[in-house]
């Protein structure tokens, strides 16, 4: 693995995602985090401003403190359990979502559409796929049961009008369709990318740009998106990562395991 050789004021796209996503979290929240950027961002938030934020991992961990430089390969190994409050069976930690104890679910995404539905199962037709992807894992459960943040790279092939396959439901077909499908709670709250921060229109549930990353234009965001985006009337620009945020991040992931 390559060690990062970046100056203090430059950063990778993944580092930007971690910082921006971390800023969306609040102290005291219970956050169900996936592997990679979500795990790092939640840990960054704990170190920066949210010491009472509790992380849950799918493998069964409640409230670990990740050891810097010893990031786990998935959310299911012993590195996920360091300094934890409790270890539960997988089914029971996922049931905490269904019971309603979780504020935020947080994961990465391979492909997303205008209503925030995520695909991590098939590229192309499911019966004759161009690519079989690994699948839902807990993604479907998390997105079905709580408010979600998704962090991903902003590319046209990833931001499509309709996903090839709904692995993890967002707002399904927009408006009230999510609740009508039997999912009365939760929904996709924020999408964080290297270009912008997005939410969803309260009525139509279409994706709406709320803020641009520093130095990024509206046109750039639209050009890298495979459908027409809504833009907020009070479109903002996000402050770039601070030296402190980047230093903490590099302390946590010195080998650039998730931030290369």
């Amino acid at each position: 693995m390559t060690k990062h050789q970046l100056a203090d004021d430059t950063y990778t796209a993944s580092e930007l995602l971690c910082v921006m996503a971390a800023r969306l979290l609040k102290d005291g929240q219970i956050v169900f985090a996936g592997i990679g950027v979500p795990l790092l961002a939640a840990t960054l938030a704990q170190h920066q401003f949210a010491p009472h934020l509790t992380i849950l991992f799918e493998g069964g961990t409640i409230g670990p403190r990740i050891v810097p430089g010893e990031l786990p390969p998935s959310t299911n190994e012993q590195r996920c359990t360091r300094h934890a409050n409790m270890l539960l069976p997988i089914t029971d930690v996922l049931l905490l979502l269904q019971r309603g104890y979780v504020d935020i679910g947080f994961m990465g995404g391979a492909q997303i559409d205008r209503f925030g539905n995520l695909n991590s199962s098939f590229i192309g037709d499911a019966d004759n796929p161009k690519t079989r992807l690994p699948g839902t894992g807990g993604g479907n459960d998390i997105s079905s049961l709580t408010n979600m943040i998704v962090a991903m790279k902003h590319e046209k092939r990833r931001f499509v009008a309709d996903v090839d396959f709904i692995t993890s439901p967002g707002w399904v077909k927009g408006r009230r369709s999510r609740a009508e499908a039997g999912l009365p709670e939760g929904g996709l709250w924020r999408v964080v990318t290297d270009l912008a921060l997005m939410g969803f229109d309260e009525e139509t549930r279409e994706m709406k740009v709320l803020a641009l990353q520093q130095g990024v234009t509206r046109e750039q965001v639209q050009d890298n998106t495979g459908f027409k985006l809504l833009f907020d009337e009070k479109l903002q620009t996000v402050a770039p990562p601070t030296k402190e945020e980047l230093a903490t991040l590099r302390h946590l992931d010195p080998d650039c395991r998730f931030t290369a």
Partner: protein, 323 residues
Amino acid sequence: MSTDALVTPYRQLREETLTRDRGLREKVMSLEEATRFVNDGDHVALGGCHLSRTPSAMLWALIRARRQNLTVSRSIASTETDLLLASGVSRHVVTSWFSQGLIWGVSKVMRHHVENKLAVFDEWSHMSMGLRYRAGAMGIPFMPSRTMLGSDVGKRLGEGFKSMTCPFTNEDVGLLPALNPDVALIHVQRCDPYGNAQLDGLQFMDLDIAMAAKRVILTTERIVSNEQIRRAPDHTRIPFFTVEAVVEAPIGCAPHECYGVYEPFFSHLDDYAALTTKDPVQGTQGYLERYYYEPKSWSDYLSRLGMDAVLDACRRGRKVHND
């Protein structure tokens, strides 16, 4: 969906359980002897999750015994299931997520088998997998739940996943069919000769799998006395009467981890990823020859992983006890 009878009839489940010898008896044997509890065509549930407490030693023995047409289920499947497909032992995987791990990218072995229709990969959400085993453990035919609705994951399961209006609240709920595997393969840190198993760290779905299964093969880092088990019965997680075989298999999850004993063999897994990414067919065949078919014994397999690699994994594994 391609499972045969989705839910084991209750009468059959009870009768099969009644006919088992549930007495307190010793059942220690070798890996090779334990393979007799797995028949061609069985549904085999694997304990652990992803790179953790994988029953690697027992799978190694089943691949060497050339079992065929196994349906394999697991909460999350990784390199062990790659090798079950590549060896021809299984063509049917039931899981929520199937790849080596995020840092290694999407499994080329899984892609090769699924995209070329050499194998079927039935995808359920992770909680749904867990609730299916739990329903099996509870002796009920299905479990209601609130996920997989509104998604193509649920739709693609066809007859496997249904929904109904709750008779109490009039809400829509999903219905998951109980899963009672023919065999569960579970690796633990310690158990006694009768099969009373204690496990440390993350439990994953192992307790439900053991209770749901029609028989359990336990592999263990070490066999301890029944007296030791009785000194701390509150730590026992799997009761002896669910277990048919106990096999002592030290470092029995290699190259994956066993909580508190060893971490994953990362360098070996990097090499495996490089080998199988380059060529999922030749890569796995060469790997199977070297690590599965050629070794004379499980300890010979460990020798091939290398003493340095074993000690490094153990040194990292013990770190959880340092705090």
